[in-house]
Symmetry: C2
Subunit: 231 residues, 2 copies
């Protein structure tokens, strides 16, 4: 049941693009790919591609993410749909964008794969981007900042076990403001979403910190009963 259709430049096609955030070297970074095809060959762009006939846009985003970076099973959420008629010089392309939070533990940019062309950039050091991707990144950042205040999504960016100061550094990086250590700990610990592990840091030149895990099951239970995480 393969069919061939011809269409002229006026018909929209539908693509997806992903804004992938990672917390790398204590900073919030996003993943960009160097384009090796025209248009915008050689420029950096968001990972993405066209939606296939049998898949939802969500599935397309997951597939592209996997193909281009090797990452699977990440927190992903629909961001916004961009539809300026001239946003792609090849013709009318409407793009449904997603933002994803990846945990560096499950992630390695491997040479020899498609992901080899991918690099982490901080927002400040980001190069000029292809298409309207700069706009998309801005929208994603806005959403991430809004979201982190009332949903515990920060954990998606950290390794499974982490230390409270890492979590605080992450929040400070996203919100771009310093937070008070005692108040931050108080709020996090009292949320009941952190599972204290026995394990502590070793080989650090200071008092070793306790490791914690995010208690996802607990969060889901609490959510059912109308609980809402905040800050």
């Amino acid at each position: 049941m393969k069919t061939t259709y011809t269409y002229n430049y006026e018909m929209p096609s539908v693509a997806v693009d992903c804004v992938i955030f990672g917390f790398v070297e204590s900073g919030l970074k996003l993943l960009l790919i160097e384009r090796n095809l025209e248009p915008y060959k050689g420029m950096y762009a968001l990972p993405g591609g066209f939606v296939l006939p049998h898949e939802t846009t969500e599935e397309a985003a997951q597939r592209e993410l996997l193909e281009e970076t090797g990452v699977q099973q990440v927190y992903m959420e629909q961001l916004y749909t961009f539809s300026q008629p001239n946003r792609d010089p090849r013709g009318r392309v409407i793009t449904v964008t997603y933002f994803a939070l990846v945990n560096p533990e499950h992630f390695n940019l491997q040479s020899g794969t498609d992901a080899a062309q991918a690099r982490w950039f901080s927002y400040a050091q980001m190069p000029q981007l292809a298409f309207d991707h700069y706009q998309i990144v801005n929208k994603a950042l806005e959403r991430l900042r809004g979201k982190i205040k009332y949903q515990p999504i920060g954990f998606e960016l950290l390794p499974r076990k982490f230390v409270l100061s890492q979590l605080q550094t992450l929040y400070e990086a996203i919100l771009e403001m310093p937070l008070d250590k005692r108040n931050f700990r108080k709020k996090m610990l009292s949320s009941g979403l952190l599972l204290a592990l026995e394990e502590k840091q070793t080989e650090v030149a200071h008092k070793p910190a306790r490791y914690f895990e995010f208690d996802k099951e607990r969060y889901e239970v609490l959510q059912q009963s109308g609980y809402n995480f905040e800050l």
Copy 2:
């Protein structure tokens, strides 16, 4: 520079659908249109249609809203993009949805126009809907409820001048919970976003209430300086 591309599969087409909320007869209602074409002929559905080649999805939504209901210049916001491959029996249609808040003052369902087939329904009395429109309505309600707590969008649903009890009734209808009168007034008045008018109600069989206006300019100024409305 017209180009022709060939694809091996059917390309999706792109539509828009609008969830239009109105505050009618002291209740939150949404506007549905009876379909007079197959598929789902005779069923109710959200107003919407296909995106034209030269317009953004936002423009398409505004245009459809105007064509089908005669309303212009309303608060409108992108909601979500739905892309289940089988959501439309005619073929692959991806729909970008919007939600809109209309002020009944600027709005009349006129017979003799396209809008004649439109009717207000409360969520509870809503008939079965065509396509996946029920899902879309649920998403819109969720968004409306989330949004009204931290953005002063309630005013978009009321006439230009209104009375505080109307505003409270509206909030109660959206949030589906009773609110304390004194606390509600305190918060609203202290927000600085309400402009007290000299005018009061007339011909009411009780103490006449003062009219207020939403001070939109003030809100925009406050927003610039980092202010955030809440509840």
